[in-house]
């Protein structure tokens, strides 16, 4: 009797889980499907050119329904200079932000993990603050700050790529610190102790013992920072000057007329992201074999947790 009840409860939860997963993946599926959508039949009928993907966003008609299959949006998307140069800009900024943030985060994580609670607490509060202050507030505050500093110190860069980068590193460094520290705390200090006992100095212990074991978390942190930075709209939208990042271009497209070319580019990026996720998952899996399960799982949760 009880067994049956447990079974039905399990079935109910499984059904719910499937519904939630469908909810989570439906929009992503829609993006992929609508990357292959034709313009509306009327717009195709009145269009003079040969390539239907050259139809302007204003004339494209209803693309929220399925009008037929075409794959020309991929070529069109990759051919649109506005899109590709914005993607390049975002890529470079995200790479720089991710590297700098990971280095800052690594340093702080190493020192903080074994620091006394009394000294650690204020730093922790600061880190969590950078994560929970609404991004729109940070964005406008950074805008005022950058403009003011620029008007007082001529050497400071004007609004543009550099200011986007400077602003984004704050959030990313906090993210990186938490991820790396979670793993570092989870690792324990047994192997480091052994290394010291065997006569290894602090620096070589770090290089040969600590860092290799931290590497999965470092890479996860870097990738996550990269993703966040690449995807970030709000902060760059206020501190960009005249620089166009991919989310900024995307956003104005969403508001003022979009073509499936955007879906096509999003689909391509989705593929890249999936490859990255599989890479990270494999890395973390490999690291899990090395250490005690419970802590590693926490590390995995934490590594993916903020992302």
């Amino acid at each position: 009797m009880r067994r049956r009840r447990i079974l039905t409860a399990k079935r109910g939860f499984t059904l719910w889980a499937l519904i939630v997963y469908a909810f989570l993946y439906l929009p992503i599926l829609v993006v992929v499907i609508f990357a292959f959508d034709k313009p509306s039949p009327t717009s195709v009928a009145t269009f003079k050119g040969s390539n239907i993907c050259d139809i302007q966003p204003a004339d494209i008609g209803n693309i929220s329904v399925w009008n037929g299959f075409t794959s020309c949006w991929f070529a069109k998307g990759l051919d649109t200079g506005l899109y590709t140069s914005a993607i390049k800009t975002s890529f470079v900024i995200a790479a720089e932000a991710s590297i700098i943030a990971t280095i800052l985060g690594l340093g702080a994580a190493l020192a903080l993990a074994r620091m006394r609670r009394r000294w650690r607490a204020p730093f922790d509060v600061l880190v969590y603050l950078t994560l929970v202050v609404p991004e729109i507030v940070i964005a406008v505050a950074s805008l005022i700050f950058f403009v003011q500093v620029r008007s007082n110190f001529g050497a400071f860069p004007p609004l543009g790529r550099s200011t986007i980068l400077l602003g984004q590193i704050v959030f990313n460094a906090s993210l990186a610190m938490l991820i790396i520290r979670a793993r570092f705390v989870g690792m324990g200090d047994k192997l480091e102790e052994a290394a010291y006992d065997l006569g290894s100095g602090p620096f070589s212990t770090f290089r040969q013992v600590t860092l290799p074991r931290l590497m999965p978390a470092v890479i996860a942190a870097a990738l996550l920072s990269f993703t966040f930075s690449f995807d970030d709209y709000v902060l760059p939208a206020f501190t960009n000057g005249t620089t166009s990042t991919w989310p900024i271009v995307l956003y104005s497209a969403v508001r003022f007329g979009i073509t499936p070319a955007v879906n096509a580019l999003a689909t391509l990026m989705l593929l890249v992201t999936l490859v990255l996720i599989v890479a990270v998952a494999l890395l973390l899996r490999r690291s899990r074999v090395e250490g005690p399960g419970q802590e590693e799982q926490q590390g995995l949760g934490a590594a993916l947790g903020l992302g």
């Binding site: 997963y21 609404p134 770090f206 999003a266 949760g301 947790g305």
Partner: protein
């Protein structure tokens, strides 16, 4: 003999070995936060009590007039709407996400991590793209509106769907973490002693995972209050949050002191929740929660 005893003695109180890293390693980030986080926050506070003088320039004074302007029924209603929407959105997120996290922690073993990964994957894809995809689905010319009669784009329901959709993974993770730590034999013991499953759930599972629910709930509630993109895309400018008003004062209106006062007011409104969240987050040492 004595030598042996002396050699053994120190091991009784074993020195706890902890290779420490020098504290100066925190200096670069501390410096960075000091300049590029606290700096902007400080100047925001200064601007909120300054006066607009001409286009884009200000006069540094101590004038609380901006805050008096915020305290207008028009802006108060925006604050109320924002907090109400975020609260509703968080509650729905909890209602949707908790059972899923429970299912993963309680019933899965081999595929547990895969199930977790599947929750996270959408979160790694572009926020804008996902929100735009919801717009395609909810579009009044789309299938949902035309065939099922659910035409909710540019209403509070669309904004609500967007909030729940985008923040669900962020809630599930900390709750899953706390459910993972649950000792399920407690439930077995309780039911063996005659507790009904619902009672056992309420008195044990829910109570033990409540900190996770609170942190997870706040983790989605706080950013929902500062949301900017979702109300813009799915609310179509008809259903603005405080964040959108702040954006407008910096974008179109160029009234920076007033926008600063709005920002400070938003942070003040959120401060209680932020304090509770930070208390939980730093105490639990459960990162990402």
């Amino acid at each position: 003999m004595a030598a042996v005893a002396a050699a053994v003695k120190p091991t009784k109180k074993r020195r706890s070995f902890a290779p420490k890293y020098p504290a100066w390693l925190t200096l670069p980030s501390l410096l960075y936060y000091g300049i590029f986080f606290l700096g902007p926050m400080a100047i925001l506070a200064v601007f909120s009590v300054s006066l607009q003088s001409g286009f884009g320039s200000v006069e540094y004074t101590f004038d609380t007039g901006q805050f008096a302007q915020v305290n207008d029924s028009l802006y108060i209603s925006v604050f109320e709407r924002t907090l109400l929407m975020a609260a509703t959105g968080s509650l729905v997120t909890i209602a949707v996400g908790y059972p899923l996290a429970y299912w993963m922690a309680r019933y899965l073993s081999t595929y547990k991590m895969l199930a977790l990964l599947l929750v996270i994957v959408p979160f790694w894809t572009s926020f804008l793209i996902r929100t735009y995809a919801l717009k395609i689905i909810l579009d009044s010319h789309g299938y949902l509106a035309q065939d099922l009669g659910i035409d909710i784009l540019y209403t509070k329901y669309a904004v609500g769907v967007g909030l729940v959709y985008n923040y669900l993974p962020l809630f599930i993770l900390p709750v899953f973490a706390s459910l993972e730590r649950m000792d399920w034999t407690l439930i077995e013991a309780a039911t063996d002693l005659g507790a009904r499953p619902l009672t056992a759930f309420k008195d044990i599972t829910l109570r033990l995972t409540l900190p996770g629910v609170v942190t997870g709930g706040l983790l989605v509630f706080i950013p929902m209050c500062g949301e900017y993109i979702i109300p813009n895309i799915l609310g179509g400018g008809k259903f603005e949050f405080v964040g959108n008003i702040i954006g407008d004062t910096f974008g179109d209106a160029q009234n920076w002191p007033f926008g600063s006062a709005l920002s400070i007011s938003l942070m003040a409104a959120l401060s209680v929740f932020v304090v509770i969240y930070i208390m939980f987050a730093t105490r639990e040492e459960q990162f990402g929660a």
